[in-house]
């Protein structure tokens, strides 16, 4: 089994598509679809990478990232943030909080794969 990715995203068809692409590339993909208990899932599953949507029900991706960075066992975890908001201030916010990468929707499958590979190799 390859390295693990936790995808936190609330749109079922995006979850399905990204899961399919990553699985085909050899990643072990697990998914979660709400923000409320996402941090607990990150801690319990200890993935090699988290793909985190900004707009989630229950808690925003920014707040989840803050908590991930606040825990010693997850503070260095690579996190790729996905958002439909491509404004500079959103990107700056993500970088300030500690996102490893920031990707604006809509993105191509190739872009996602490339970034995921880069982040885990790094």
């Amino acid at each position: 089994m390859g390295k693990s990715v936790l995808l936190i995203e609330d749109e079922p068809n995006i979850i399905e598509a990204i899961s399919f692409i990553l699985s085909r590339d050899g990643w072990a993909v697990s998914t979660h679809s709400n923000g409320h208990d996402a941090v607990g899932v990150v801690q319990s599953t200890q993935p090699d990478l988290v793909i985190l949507d900004v707009m989630l029900p229950g808690k925003s991706g920014y707040d989840i990232l803050r908590e991930i960075r606040g825990h010693s066992d997850t503070s260095g975890l690579p996190v790729l943030m996905l958002t439909a908001k491509g404004q500079v201030k959103d990107r700056e916010m993500a970088e300030r909080i500690g996102a490893s990468r920031f990707m604006t929707k809509p993105f191509s499958n190739a872009e996602v794969l490339e970034v995921v590979r880069e982040l885990v190799t790094e």
């Binding site: 068809n13 598509a17 085909r24 439909a84 993105f107 191509s108 190739a110 996602v112």
Partner: protein, 433 residues
């Protein structure tokens, strides 16, 4: 009030500017000081040789005294000068300019108003684009759909070998997402169409409501017995109310006026006005009515029941002006924040306590007004919850001189008062003086 009925006021203004006492001017044109006093307070008509003689003594053209220039026009020109901030604008000659070149002055005033409206429209649209939650949600929804479609389509196009089960699932997902995208797009287009209509108007909803009230001279006797549906229908028929927001705000005002009319029927109210010489506190006491209702009723009926029409202004607890009935000489600003010295705002910090103050409005055409103000709670009172308040101020023009409690202005930008402790921003008038 017709322009030629204010000739006396203009003579008074010009006499004061020239530094002449009433008796002096009267002697120079061969009339008694008491007769000049009546003229100056618009109690006697004036024309012909006497007007020419007075104009000659005051060194102005007679037409400037008889026709003058609309106070609102002059006020708008002053606002325009203040906004541009040019120190070389000859503000001390603004009424001369408006009097001698009314066409050009009107053009400048219209352009200034148009510029202001365009700026507000641009600000509204900018604000909508950056802060409108509906727009942001719609765009997010659409981008999410596009992302899902792009990713799914990419899989179907690029994956050479894909199990039939997955292929069918992705086809179904594509179908679902494309339908959702179509619906979201249609909703967004409808929303933007409506938003475009709302932004297309050159006025704010409150301005439209005030224009409607003024068009009817604040009289809606025909609606006293109307039900809510009839009020809504009436608002929809008013061409000046171009947006739904304006119509809804108008209905709120009309409901209030209807309640006032039912509480204070005109015949009974007119008798009380005559008996108590339009003292709103005495009228409210006599008719057992809330003071704010008496203010509103007096303002609406004053054109018919009294010699001089009364003004009215209302604000909420934030100080935002929500209703204005303009009165000659007491400029109620259209967009700028008002003078903090108005009794209207003092009443907000002393709810339910009626205030009565004689004020002088600053400026060269300074006039005295008696202002009554009251702040009353809105909605039902509940235990341990501070109520919200609406404050009302009734503005009654006064004749002649007399004691004054304080000087008040319209708005800081066009107020000449130099040492005002309430000043928020510099005044171009004070600067140029």
């Amino acid at each position: 009030m017709a322009r030629d009925t204010l000739t006396g006021s203009r003579i008074r203004e010009r006499r004061i500017m020239a530094g002449k006492r009433q008796a002096e001017l009267a002697a120079e044109v061969g009339i008694s000081a008491s007769y000049l006093n009546l003229i100056e307070h618009n109690r006697r008509r004036i024309g012909g040789k006497l007007l020419v003689d007075i104009a000659e003594v005051l060194q102005v053209e007679a037409s400037l005294l008889s026709e003058g220039a609309e106070a609102a026009l002059i006020s708008t020109l002053r606002e325009a000068a203040a906004d541009v901030g040019r120190a070389d604008t000859e503000l001390d000659r603004v009424d001369e300019f408006a009097g001698r070149f009314p066409g050009w002055a009107g053009l400048i005033a219209d352009q200034y108003k148009r510029l202001g409206n365009l700026e507000r429209t641009a600000a509204t649209l900018t604000d909508r684009l950056t802060h409108d939650p509906h727009l942001a949600t719609s765009m997010h929804e659409m981008l999410t759909m596009v992302t899902a479609i792009r990713s799914t389509a990419g899989i179907l196009a690029d994956t050479k070998e894909i199990e039939p089960e997955w292929r069918n699932r992705f086809h179904r997902n594509l179908n679902e997402d494309s339908q959702r995208l179509a619906e979201s797009s249609q909703q967004l287009v409808s929303y933007l169409d409506e938003a475009g209509d709302a932004a297309g108007g050159l006025t704010l909803p409150l301005e439209e409501v005030e224009a409607m009230l003024e068009a009817h001279e604040f009289r809606f006797d025909m609606l006293d017995g109307a039900d809510d549906a009839a009020l809504e229908s009436f608002a929809e028929q008013q061409s000046v109310l171009s947006s739904r927001e304006a119509q809804q705000m108008a209905v709120t005002v009309l409901r209030r006026f209807r309640a006032d009319a039912r509480l204070l029927p005109q015949k009974e109210f007119a008798a009380a006005v005559a008996e108590f010489e339009a003292d709103p506190v005495a009228i409210a006491k006599s008719l057992h009515a809330p003071l704010a209702a008496v203010f509103r009723r007096l303002a609406c009926l004053s054109d018919e029941l009294m010699d001089l029409p009364l003004g009215l202004v209302m604000c909420d607890g934030s100080g935002t002006l929500m209703l204005r009935k303009q009165v000659e000489g007491f400029q109620l600003p259209r967009f700028s924040a008002a003078c903090p010295k108005w009794p209207l705002f003092q009443a907000l910090v002393r709810p339910m306590r009626p205030l009565r103050q004689t004020v002088m409005v600053t400026g060269r055409d300074a006039r005295r007004f008696e202002c009554y103000a009251i702040s009353e709670p809105i909605g039902a009172l509940e235990a341990n919850i501070d109520p919200l308040y609406h404050s009302y101020m009734l503005i009654k023009p006064l004749d002649g001189g007399g004691p004054v409690a304080r000087e008040v202005g319209s708005t800081c930008r066009v107020c000449p008062s130099v040492d005002c402790e309430g000043r928020r921003e510099p005044s171009l008038l004070a600067h140029s003086a």
